[in-house]
């Protein structure tokens, strides 16, 4: 075979690979949406699941997922910002910083089930909190934090040195410079990253089976007392999230329409992820436009 022929053939193979990957995604999304969307209805989205009868919904699970996401972000965002500021602004190049960077890397590559088991041992059993939203939120925080630190660090690093120098030259303290000059400039990047991270938290299941639990008490959506056992906003109650529910329905679901429920719930999860993804792109562009007045 001539060299030119080989080149042509290779190009063809690379095109094939690209189409295969696009085909995989299109197939995945198409399959999940086609199978699932027909099962999604208002009733499905708000009503509680049934164990042995058909027609159960995913209301509490959907609420749990959103509430858990909110709790996790409440803990993750400030600590992640702090960690990112440290890595970008205070860490001096050297062995300690290299070690810390490795720490972030190791934490972010821990299997989520290992983090979940750690949560089971420490938050559920040793601390006596039991299966609860709070235990789940801390477990999620552990593997969302490294991501948040990295997002913040990268966004801060992208801000030009001149901006820092100008602020320092005006006599502002280093911290004031970070808070009122560097951080605002990095905000679009941080927000985009945070929304993408939220999408990941939303779909997480392995760590939650052992921390937030696999059941939800019957919730009374008129009871907003955070200390009451059947209140939706009580952080100390067990909470099965949407992703955990999909796993449970698939592996031990007894309802006659278990397959449909799994399909519908998967479609809801995928649509949520798509929304997170699109919002992240859109919000990032929007804030950038507002802050810089560019088009």
């Amino acid at each position: 075979m001539s060299v030119r022929m080989k080149d042509k053939l290779a190009t063809l193979v690379f095109y094939l690979i690209a189409f295969v990957i696009i085909g995989i995604l299109a197939g995945l999304l198409g399959y999940i949406l086609v199978r699932g969307v027909s099962h999604i209805s208002f009733h499905f989205l708000i009503s509680p699941p049934e164990n042995i009868k058909a027609g159960g919904g995913i209301g509490p699970q959907l609420f749990n997922s959103l509430f858990l996401l909110f709790l996790t972000m409440l803990i993750t965002v400030p600590i992640g910002l702090g960690g990112g500021i440290f890595m970008s602004e205070y860490a001096k190049p050297g062995r300690v910083t290299r070690g810390l960077r490795m720490l972030v890397e190791v934490l972010s590559s821990l299997p989520s089930i290992v983090v979940g088991l750690f949560g089971l041992l420490v938050f559920v059993q040793l601390s006596g909190w039991g299966f609860s939203l709070f235990s789940g939120a801390i477990a999620l925080t552990i593997f969302n934090l490294p991501l948040m630190v990295r997002i913040t660090e990268q966004a801060l690093q992208a801000v030009s040195v001149e901006q820092r120098e100008a602020s320092l030259a005006l006599g502002l303290s280093r911290w004031r410079t970070i808070v009122s000059v560097v951080l605002p400039a990095a905000i679009p990047g941080i927000i985009t990253g945070t929304i993408l991270a939220s999408g990941r938290v939303f779909g997480e299941a392995a760590a939650l089976m052992f921390t937030a639990g696999m059941s939800t008490p019957a919730l009374d959506f008129t009871n907003w007392n955070p200390f009451s056992a059947n209140s939706p906003i009580n952080p100390m109650r067990p909470a099965e999230t949407l992703a955990v529910h999909i796993w449970k329905v698939n592996s031990e679901g007894l309802a006659p329409d278990a397959k449909e429920i799994a399909a519908g719930a998967s479609a809801v999860l995928i649509i949520a992820v798509l929304i997170f993804n699109l919002t992240a792109r859109w919000v990032g562009r929007f804030i950038h436009r507002v802050l810089t007045a560019s088009k």
Binding site: A18, M102, S109, V114, V122, L145, A262
Partner: protein, 306 residues
């Protein structure tokens, strides 16, 4: 005369501000350190008690093939080899499919059709990252498993199904890391190769891929890290029988799938429970090993998706 105390005030405020901010940043990063130390300590202390308290022989644990922790027939035995084998097998198989596809896609995006690749393939890769693992499990269960059952021997649940599901899951990781490392190559390499009259394929295969090899391998190892630790999607399709698989299409278990299924049903402190913690310890140690491997491949300062 009033000027002096004012200056001092500002000086003081300056320092207080700086101190508060610094403390905040230091405490935040310390929390990460505490988390990792605590995870390592607790998992290790629980996982090691199998060998120190329950007197299970480490060699028998790692290489024994009989797993009956409750001792249903006589003495309990803790042979975790089938799970260790299952985890490694499914990880390596997934990487065998995903590595060429992922690296190929990265080359396509960087060398063959950059504009098109960035516009179409980039969002595709990002979306694939975002799909939750239970959804992969669901699709595996309702598409891949029936397909395997119809086309090949066996019940459909097994190594091959796990391999297919995992290979799609780790594809984006491999692609994005490979893409970064190709992008980081100096353009001169390509120019020099073209100037010598090499074709694009010759340039890619003889110059660019060898030059970017450490980065490409890093991507593959990161993908394997993810595959090794993935729990639910694998559990849903691999069949979970507690024995060594006899073929690609035979049902088996992984470390994560056993943990998923059995951890909820054991009594804390029992030998069975401790043995499961030992499996978790193996997972933890392996993720350290993968990170060391990545370090060894020599890409410092770059960070990636799990």
């Amino acid at each position: 005369m009033q000027h002096v105390p004012k200056e001092q005030d500002r000086f003081k405020r300056h320092h207080l501000e700086e101190l508060t901010g610094k403390t905040f940043a230091y405490v935040s990063i310390a929390i990460l350190l505490v988390a990792l130390v605590a995870i390592t300590y607790f998992i290790a202390s629980k996982g090691l008690s199998t060998f120190f308290k329950n007197d299970v022989n480490l060699f028998n644990f790692l290489f024994g093939t009989e797993w009956s922790p409750e001792g249903d027939m006589g003495k309990p035995s803790f042979g975790a080899f089938p799970f260790i084998f299952g985890s490694f097998a499914v990880t390596v198989l997934a990487a065998l499919i995903s590595a060429p596809l992922g690296i190929g896609a990265a080359i396509f995006m960087n060398e063959i059709a950059p504009a098109w690749g960035q516009k179409v393939l980039q969002p595709v890769i990002e979306l694939l990252v975002g799909i939750p693992s239970v959804v992969y499990g669901f699709v595996g269960l309702s598409l891949v498993v029936p397909f395997m059952r119809e086309r090949f021997e066996g019940v459909g649940f097994g190594l091959a199904s796990g391999m297919v599901v995992l290979s799609v899951m780790i594809l984006p990781t491999i692609t994005s890391v490979a893409l970064d490392s190709l992008k980081a190559l100096p353009i001169k390499l390509k120019e020099a190769s073209f100037a010598l009259g090499a074709t694009r394929w010759q340039t890619i295969s003889k110059v660019l891929v060898p030059a970017a090899l450490p980065g490409l391998l890093t991507g593959v190892v990161l993908g394997m890290t993810r595959a090794f630790g993935e729990a639910l999607a694998v559990q849903m399709v691999i069949g979970n029988s507690q024995k060594l698989p006899e073929s690609l299409f035979d049902s088996t278990s992984t470390l994560t799938s056993v943990l998923t299924l059995e951890m909820g049903n054991t009594i804390a402190g029992s030998a069975h429970s401790n043995a499961l913690w030992s499996l978790a310890l193996i997972l933890l140690v392996m993720s350290f090993v993968f990170i060391l491997l990545i370090r060894f491949l020599g890409r410092r300062g770059q960070t990636h998706e799990r």
